[in-house]
Amino acid sequence: MNTMEVKQKRVPVAWDTLGSLLFLVSVVVYAGGYRRDLFFRLQELSPLLPDDALSFRNGIASPGGLIRYAGAFLTRFYYYPLLGGAVFAGLLVWIRWLVGTLFRLPARVRFLSYLPSLLLLLSVTRLDHVIFVPHEENFLFTASLGVLATLLLVAGSRRARGGWVKWLYALLTIAVGYPLVGCYALFAALLIGTEEACRGGHGWVYALGLLAGVAAWIITCPLLYFHGVYAGLSTYNIFTAGLLSPADYGSGRVTGFVVPGALAVLAGLAAWSGFRRGRSGLAPPWGMEQFVGLLALLAITFLLSNRDPRFQSLMSIQRAVAHDRWEQVLEVARAVEMPDRTIILYRNVALLKQNRLGEEMFTFPTESVAMPKYPPLVYIAGRDLLFHHGRLNHAYRWAMEHLVQHGMTVDALRYMIKVALLNGEFPLAQKYVNTLERTPFYAETARKYRRYIAQPALMNEEPEFRALNALLAYQNLLGENTALLEPYLLEYYKNTPPVTFETLELSMSAVLTLKVKDRFWGLFPLYKEHGWKVPRHVQEAALLFAHREQRDLSALHGLDTITPERFTRFLHTLEVYRNSPEERLLAALKDSFGDTYWYYYFAMKELKTN
């Protein structure tokens, strides 16, 4: 054997290995890096592991309980997205390896063994605002664990020797597997039965008998469980238990068909292989075309993934809020050219936290695109925004509504603990802290809150709580409607007399956003009364409103030197473009005054709140 021969043998083997590496790295980088914020948020929004015997029994004691439980456990690893990404990638690689070894695909299309794994990846990366829609299942791992269970059951059947042993195995797969992995066991039994029927050496009577027997058991066994064990199981779920229904994906129903699609592909691959066992070690090694095929599949997967920049920004913002990184919220918000109202609201809270709301809120992009009608904004951001506006009971309410519909999640717990602490409800806070402490990776956060229960005075040293103090000086009101979140916040702050600089910032922000001149003049003197600096946008509004109402501009107090000068230039621009089409005027204003309230005032014709 000469050197050339060795090289010729090694190169194709390298394509195979390279393909595996490419897949592994792509998934880790994509799911643990590029889309880390989505996966982190999924972790926070996914139900925690059942923590009490009753919930555990409810969860595990329905078909598919094991994969739900295991999925909830694995989801916790996404607290560190790279770690979670590695676990997810490992699972998908395992699935791919099993597909490759269980089914002998034609040599030229062996790269298709990656298809089920890529579809499982796609079922997560396609997710959009549907993640805020009530659901009980775990989007991240349940389907992958189900497919893995299917393949392992098929792999197990390969070890069964003899026809009747295989029969028995298929029947046991259903009888034992159905309670644990739900419909995935039925699917596995179908594959096992079909494979055995297709195996040569038996007559067609045996094959048909086998298929009929397995099919009969696939139908009968779940019905027996339905009538004898699972009193609470719906008829709809008898044969789909463990599988997320397309309806669970709300507006993203197409995504709901990706997992069933993965199962269909798996069945297709099995059929294509003629139910012959794969022989990875002996099969011809990959050529470059196989590698290119995989590359194409990866590219298609990423192209079909959700690439909405606003959704990705929202994920980044919510992750930053979870870690109290408000500067990062502003960085993300500034990078979004055309935000939606959710991003604008988060951005305003971040500015408020740094006493920069009146100074900078219109320096960010102010035009916005419509949000999806469902889920409503209050589902998406109600807990965050109400809490950081100091509306504690309302934040608690929406955390509780979230808990009701999703089960207990970290996202709900966080606000339930904080509100209970700030309300002085320490036994309640203790209950929530105990749960958080038992949640993997959140023990340290829980211990921080536990200190406040023991020594409430320490809360005054916590910057997050300290920042809220200025927003908490308000009277109780009964019957406020917070379901329409932004209109509620705007109306509340527009109408409520401010008592601190921070509440004045919020009131002014609402008044400027809604362009309510009368209320503006009612609030404007408060800066002078309290000796507070008049923020830039408030100066801009004062000049604009005074000019439009032909008030004496020199009587305005608290103006700096730059803003009036700039206002003069602004008036000049208005004059220059007086007879021009509105688009030209707005374009000119955007160029020179796009960072001012003046531009917002003229450009924002109709505020569409969510």
Binding site: D51, R397, K431, G479
Partner: protein
């Protein structure tokens, strides 16, 4: 096979228990007996399930001895105390009318310490074998995973009466509520389901049918029910109810009636008729006297100031107060007498709701708060009792706490009261049981024992409408689901 396995397990537990030795020469200390739940100094029925608990004190080892003052003892090792069911039952039975003494030993720094002995009285009065309750997150507007469950009080057996998980789609799930039984028996019972397939499920002779009770000019279908003790009649309140939220108040939620009346539903004839329909009164929470000759309920004099009632009840929410009133009832003619005030809470500046008459007919038990109808959100609410013979009214001492005490139910023998309390954490409602001596006194209450003593700390659901039953519900959840699938039978309005 299962029985054999079970016996082996019991034997193993008992052997384990027997093999534990009581520490000798333990030093007696005066540390408080910190156990959770607090099962110290209480009176328990002789047929109650084992009182499992966790010792809250840190130690290297633990030994707990439960010793009957008449005979028998159980010795358990560990921080979390689980008593074997059969041995526990035998211990209680052997000490009926006596007491169980609890000795807890802790080993710290190699030395055994003995905590002060506690004493729990074993009442010879049995408790009804079953209770029913709804598990629901405390309040708020959305619902998802709701179940009405039944629990055997003499063991830990618990199962669904109905669970709305039986409907997989969110738009099909029902808000199930207000279960009620006729005279502690379950062959006749009812509960409601709200939602697209909603209606009232009436179980008659064990067969469920769905009924639509909203008929004529009623403001709603039946809401709060009360089965007549022996006739096939159900008194309902019909309520137009709203739920609103406080922005700052620790009460957090107000549930208010905008309109409410009382009706009588004749189960056999499928007809409804007004009992009370006064535009200046808000009538609610009906309850029959055990002889079936009187209907008690809560009624608030209310005339709105604003034309918009929703706004009016929000603005004046602290001024709406309920009295406990009653009307006589003739089961033959089915006629009601005039309204008579039994407890004038309004005069005291208070609000009284949820009247319940003791099985001997002598006592009226109710919840008293500052205002309003839904006291589960009012921390100041307590249980009060009126001796209907003497007219004396007083708080149900020993049972009340600084938090909410609200919904309550008498056992069929009148010696036990199960009531809801939020004393543990101020938010999640838990079922507490107290012994009633028949003379107006009750004992320190204890929380419903659970197999897992830490369950209450981990469970994010409230126990809602806990009701005693003398037998289990045998109608299956699927039979209820099938009844919900069918078209509702429309009740007819009569005069």
């Amino acid at each position: 096979m299962t029985t054999r396995l079970y016996l082996l397990l019991v034997l193993a537990c008992m052997t384990h228990a027997c093999s534990v030795e009581i520490p000798r020469h333990a030093k007696e200390v005066t540390l408080p007996v910190a156990i959770s739940p607090d099962y110290t100094g209480i009176t328990i029925p002789y047929n109650i399930a084992p009182l499992h608990f966790t010792i809250l004190l840190d130690a290297e080892e633990y030994v707990t001895v439960a010793r009957g003052t008449r005979s028998g003892s159980l010795i358990v090792r560990g921080k979390e105390i689980h008593f074997p069911l059969k041995a526990w039952r035998a211990l209680l039975l052997a000490n009926k009318g006596e007491a169980i003494l609890l000795d807890i030993y802790l080993k710290r720094a190699g030395e055994w310490l003995k905590l002060p002995r506690t004493r729990n009285r074993v009442s010879p009065d049995p408790i009804d074998e079953y209770i029913a309750y709804r598990l629901i997150e405390p309040g708020y507007t959305y619902y998802w995973d709701l179940s009405i469950r039944q629990r055997n009080l003499t063991s830990f057996e618990e199962r669904d009466i109905f669970n709305n998980r039986i409907y997989p789609q969110s738009d099909q799930r029902l808000c199930i509520n207000c279960h009620s039984f006729q005279n502690y028996r379950t062959a006749h019972m009812q509960f409601h389901g709200r939602g697209d397939r909603g209606g009232t499920i009436i179980v008659k002779e064990g067969r469920p049918i769905k009924v639509e009770l909203k008929a004529g000019d009623l403001v709603s279908g039946g809401v709060y029910p009360a089965w007549h003790p022996y006739e096939n009649l159900i008194a309902y309140s019909v309520n137009q109810t709203g739920q609103v939220f406080h922005s700052r108040d620790p009460r957090k939620v107000e549930v208010q009636d905008l309109l409410s009346d009382l009706i009588l539903y004749d189960v056999d004839r499928n007809t409804v008729a007004y009992i009370a329909h006064d535009s200046c009164e808000l009538e609610t929470f009906p309850a029959w006297s055990p002889d079936g000759n009187t209907l008690y309920y809560a009624s608030a004099p209310y005339t709105p100031t604003f034309a918009n009632r929703s706004r009016d009840v929000i603005v004046h929410y602290k001024e709406i107060r309920y009295n406990i009133v009653r009307r006589t009832f003739d089961p033959i003619s089915r006629q009601f007498g005039d309204m008579e005030v039994v407890f004038d809470a309004v005069r005291l500046g208070k609000s009284a709701t949820l009247p319940r008459i003791s099985p001997d007919g002598r006592y009226l038990l109710f919840t008293l708060g500052e205002f309003g109808t839904f006291h589960i959100w009012h921390p100041e609410s307590d249980l009060y009792i009126v001796d209907l013979q003497s007219g004396e009214c007083r708080p149900l001492e020993n049972a009340n706490s600084s938090h909410v005490e609200s919904y309550h139910s008498w056992s069929s023998n009148g010696r036990w009261i199960i009531f809801s309390s939020r004393r543990d954490d101020g938010s999640y409602t838990r079922p507490y049981i107290t012994h009633f001596d028949g003379e107006g006194r009750c004992t320190k209450p204890f929380i419903l024992p659970q197999r897992d003593p830490s369950l209450y700390g981990k469970l994010y659901k409230s126990f809602n409408i806990t009701e005693f039953m003398v037998e289990p519900v045998t109608t299956s959840p699927r039979a209820f689901a099938n009844a919900f699938k069918k078209e509702a039978v429309q009740a007819r309005m009569t005069r």
